[in-house]
Amino acid sequence: MSIELRNVSKAFGGVSAVNNVSFSIQDGELIALLGPSGGGKTTVLRMIAGLEMPSSGDVFIRGQRMNDISVQQRNIGFVFQNYALFKNMTVFKNIAFGLKIKKWKRQEIQERITELLELFGLQGLENRYPHQLSGGQRQRVAIARALAPKPSVLLLDEPFGAVDAKIRQELREWLVTLHHELNVTTVFVTHDQEEALEVSDRIVIISGGRLVQIGTPREVYDQPANEFVARFIGVMNVLETEVREGLARVGELEFPAPDQPNGQKMRIGFRPYAVQVSSDLTAFRYHAVLRRTFFLGVLLRLELELPSGLIVRTRMTKEEYSVQGLEDGKEVSFQIRQFRVLATETATLLPESDVEYQPPPVLGENI
């Protein structure tokens, strides 16, 4: 067990920022702390680092209780959102700083830095100052500086926030590679669900100062703990329905809801990829007009409008779109292959049976 938080809370001047959070991280894991801005995830990271002390609860690193141990003695590497490189020092001196503080020998420092410069692709830049580097280079220097003294954990605060989209993608891939090579326990904070899904081994979702869910990217995507997670991780269509005769209905749409009393309100959610669209109007049960197509690259986002005015969002590859001969304003048929019953946003974890996907309803039978 590399890092463990037990019932950790933090309040700033009476305002609660983190509320009774517990989770543990295994050795060598790459963990994303994901959540909306202001949700407390950075505070959690800073408490692991020792930059903030918990108001209550315990933080353990490698089994040792850290509450009374200062940030200097925790042996962590921390990468700040804006990198916080020492402006008046060269790349070499930046990376060497922690080693000099820890009184490494000159020869050892030289060797370690040569090794890191190579690992981080920073050869030839050692005499540059931070303002002479690109955003991506700065970030790599910041990570190299944090890793130089061989910390037991690496903590990164919004590591990809300050660079532009293209470099961000490269850095993500690079961070994964780096993590595989070094295998140091890594925790990073992000508000970007795509980033968390792509990069991490497990995701810790924090919102409103509380731990909402922890799991692998697949788990949180496929089995979101509640509606908040479902909507935060990826896109989800959410419909308010009412049960009549074993079917949850809204507009033209019907979802099987056996054993539910008439008049019961239900929130139904389904992912865009669960919607199957065809230009052949006999192919599927529901009919709609393709209201608008958004171009995202390889994928297109489609907005379908049903006669009742309901909007259903879906995705489709460029190729399929062409093959189907779709265009805005065209009439299409569609079906919803999978859906789930959602709880309200504030509700806690749903019982397991509710979280599982229902088997795809056989909608074709009714036609």
Binding site: Q72, L85, N88, M89, P149, K318
Partner: protein, 314 residues
């Protein structure tokens, strides 16, 4: 069901749209630039009138008098100039001025660093009060400042009796002059440092802490270098004022020739004794110090700018 019309090349049209968009944007930006350049420029007449007014004013009120100081100082020749500077009482004034600067400038450096640090890095009650207090010496007349110390430490003052009993002299002695000078030069270092420290933030210091540095190591290796130029600039201004202060020092000094006369006081005294050449000789020395300070300041600004430019070019 109607057969779909021939497949329109969706993907192609979308791609071409995406490609042409930047070109359009660039053109628009270029034309906007030209327009704004023309729009913001004043007419040549206004420009030259403003420049002449500023230049003329500086020459008549600053440059000519300054040259005149040196001309007057040397009116009776170099020998007289050297002699008047070397007069024991003038020499004592020069030494006292340097002594006062050597004590009050470091005091204000320490205070300025502490105050700037507190204001830039912490949130606390009374922060705005502290900022106002730092500015107080700027808004209070130096004479009033001097009188404040007389009221406090003079024979009839609050601590006058106690000080006399313990045989400590502050007013009409060197300590009073140091106190008054320190008070008047109080804001210079802090005022220069606060914006620099505020813009630097505290992340670099936090980074040093996570790398194991102690508070002192962090201050010495990270904080101080990052505010270096602001600090040097503040010290230069503080020093210039410390050497040149007249009003506050005049009130507390007592004008004891050879003992409590600083350079500005000595100049006034010589001038009132109709010894204009000697007064101007000392004045020229003080002016020279000011000019040196300005030159140093300009040099530092230039150096800082060059560093900045070099950074931009990379």
């Amino acid at each position: 069901m109607a057969t779909p019309p021939p497949d329109p090349p969706h993907s192609d049209s979308l791609t071409s749209k995406a490609e042409s968009a930047p070109t359009l944007q660039r053109n628009r930006r270029d034309s906007a630039n030209e327009k704004s350049r023309r729009g913001t420029e004043e007419s040549p007449l206004v420009k030259w009138v403003l420049i002449s007014v500023a230049m003329g004013f500086s020459i008549i009120f600053l440059f000519v008098p300054l040259v005149n100081v040196f001309a007057q100082a040397l009116a009776k020749g170099f020998a007289y100039y050297w002699n008047s500077l070397g007069h024991p009482d003038s020499w004592a004034a020069i030494r006292l001025t340097l002594l006062v600067a050597v004590i009050s400038v470091p005091l204000n450096v320490v205070f300025g660093l502490a105050a700037a640090w507190a204001i830039a890095k912490f949130e606390f009650r009374g922060k705005s009060l502290l900022i106002t207090l730092i500015d107080l010496p700027f808004s209070v007349s130096p004479v009033v400042a001097g009188l404040m110390f007389v009221v406090l430490f003079g024979l009839q003052g609050f601590f006058g009796g106690w000080l006399r009993d313990h045989d400590i002299k502050i007013i009409f002695a060197v300590p009073g002059i140091v106190l008054a000078t320190t008070f008047v030069t109080f804001p210079f270092v802090a005022r220069e440092l606060i914006p620099v420290m505020q813009s630097t933030g505290s992340e670099q210091e936090q980074a040093a802490l996570t790398l194991g540095a102690s508070g002192w190591q962090t201050f010495w290796h990270v904080t101080l270098p990052s505010v270096k130029w602001g600090l040097v600039y503040g010290i230069i201004l503080c020093n210039a004022r410390a050497m040149g202060e007249f009003g506050a020092v005049s009130v507390v000094s007592g004008h004891i020739t050879g003992l409590t006369d600083t350079m500005p006081l000595r100049i006034e005294k010589l001038y009132n004794e109709y010894n204009a050449p000697a007064a101007f000789a000392l004045a020229s020395l003080l002016a020279l110090l000011a000019l040196l300070t300005l030159a140093l300041k300009t040099f530092l600004e230039w150096k800082q700018k060059r560093q900045h430019d070099r950074a931009q070019n990379h």
